[in-house]
């Protein structure tokens, strides 16, 4: 989808959020087992979800 010219914040806010979630997900499973593992799966599923969505043919 096309929009008017965007600034850096608009371009990078979602990538930043997903990157922060990935980092937190990578860390969470290191800190403990059980709930920490589940939190890690949830957070890392976010970037994976975008990959699947991008590859999906509509």
């Amino acid at each position: 989808m096309k929009v008017d010219e965007q600034g850096l914040w608009a371009i990078f806010r979602w990538p930043l959020a997903i990157g922060a979630a990935s980092a937190a997900g990578l860390l969470a499973a290191l800190l403990g087992d059980g709930a920490w593992d589940a939190l890690s799966w949830l957070l890392l599923a976010w970037p994976v979800g975008w990959c699947l969505r991008g590859l999906h043919r509509r």
Partner: protein
């Protein structure tokens, strides 16, 4: 971004990627099955497991365990004894021709922790998984191969950084996540490359950087050992008695180390002269209980002559980095779902590498300045 800066970053992105892509594709493809090494080993029936026994079955002293391993491979000397985190009934004893070897002729003897029986020869050095492993770790070229792959990893990091800078001009007029499928294959590849590249960015940076640190494992461990030996010399400990005579039983050395650190468990035992000990001391490597602290080994040195426990110097930062790097590279610290996510992120990386190659190839065949591609993106 000025056109000059854009050209500069494009140049960096193009060349770092072109040089590294072939090797990165190889690493992604071989890394994929390696994520599931344990599961594949288990399914193939090649994984050696301790036979089930009641949990309160008494355990054999470590000295008997090591003796069983040496008896199984006469002429070899023991280097390390590893505890298996997932199988407390098993010890793995690593043997080789000398203690200070490059471990090219290493042997791993699995010994039952209760009966001290040798459980057979694990198949580590043959089969397709071993080929994947060597291609992934050193390209069958030992130290030179490791360092070469580390250098390719550094190029990957440069390529990721330059790719992130270039993401902005391409996305100026596009909503995050857009993949234009109906225009041209070129634009579809470009959008896929940008989307998958930016969402896998942090994961790939972490796996790439920790992979680079892992290629320096030998150098980091050697420096750590040298530092420990130097610290012991400074502290002017009395010279240790010869190991051959009056050696303290290793079980007693381990018990003494555990008594000094009651909240830790035994992770590994290292004989004198190996990379993890000193020429004159046993090293008892203790670990904590969480997934992170279980990877952070604290060495406790024990004098073989007297059985005296010496506190080793604090772990240097690089050694900590190496030990934290291992789980973060392997993805083996959060159960099977984390491994599956690792596998999907690895596949996404393959798409990023492949789409980058396709974009370069198409442009290369039909020369078209980059500004034109950005124009088309507008």
């Amino acid at each position: 971004m000025s056109p000059r800066a854009l050209r500069g970053w494009s140049w960096v992105h193009k060349w770092t990627s072109l040089v590294a892509t072939l090797f990165m594709l190889l690493l992604c493809l071989t890394g994929l099955p390696l994520v599931f090494y344990e599961e594949i080993d288990h399914l193939a029936g090649t994984r050696i497991e301790a036979p089930p026994m009641p949990p309160d079955t008494p355990r054999a002293p470590l000295d008997t365990v090591v003796a069983a391993a040496v008896a199984a491979f006469p002429g070899k000397v023991p280097l390390y004894v590893f505890a298996e985190k997932d199988d407390p009934g098993l010890w793995l004893v690593k043997l080789d021709t000398r203690v200070d070897t490059d471990e090219r002729e290493e042997l791993l003897a699995p010994i039952d922790a209760r009966s001290a029986r040798w459980l057979g020869r694990p198949v580590f050095d043959e089969g397709v998984m071993h080929v994947f492993y060597r291609l992934h770790v050193d390209l069958f070229a030992a130290e030179a191969g490791r360092l070469f792959l580390g250098a390719m990893g550094l190029l990957l990091v440069l390529s990721i950084v330059s790719g992130t800078v270039l993401y902005a001009p391409f996305m100026r007029r596009l909503v995050f996540g857009t993949v234009r499928r109906d225009r041209s294959p070129q634009l579809r590849w470009l959008d896929l490359h940008n989307l998958l590249g930016i969402v896998t960015l942090v994961w790939l940076l972490v796996v790439g950087a920790t992979g680079i640190v892992n290629t320096w494992a030998n150098q980091i461990l050697q420096a750590w050992q040298a530092g420990q030996v130097a610290a012991l010399k400074r502290s002017a400990a009395p010279p240790a008695a010869s190991i051959a005579t009056a050696a303290t039983p290793i079980q007693r050395a381990v018990d003494a180390a555990l008594a000094a650190h009651p909240h830790m468990t035994l992770s590994q035992f290292a004989f004198p002269g190996t990379l993890l000990s000193t020429p004159d001391h046993y090293a008892v490597l203790l670990a904590g209980a969480t997934p992170l602290t279980a990877r952070l080994q604290t060495p406790v040195l024990v004098e073989p002559g007297t059985g005296r426990v010496l506190e080793a110097a604090a772990r240097p930062a690089l050694a900590t980095a190496l030990q934290v790097s291992q789980p973060l590279h392997f993805g083996d610290y959060g159960g099977l779902p984390l491994k599956l996510l690792w596998c999907l992120l690895d596949l996404a990386t393959i798409v990023v590498l492949w789409s980058g190659l396709v974009l370069w190839w198409r442009k290369h065949r039909r020369p078209q300045p980059l500004s034109h591609a950005i124009g088309a993106a507008r």
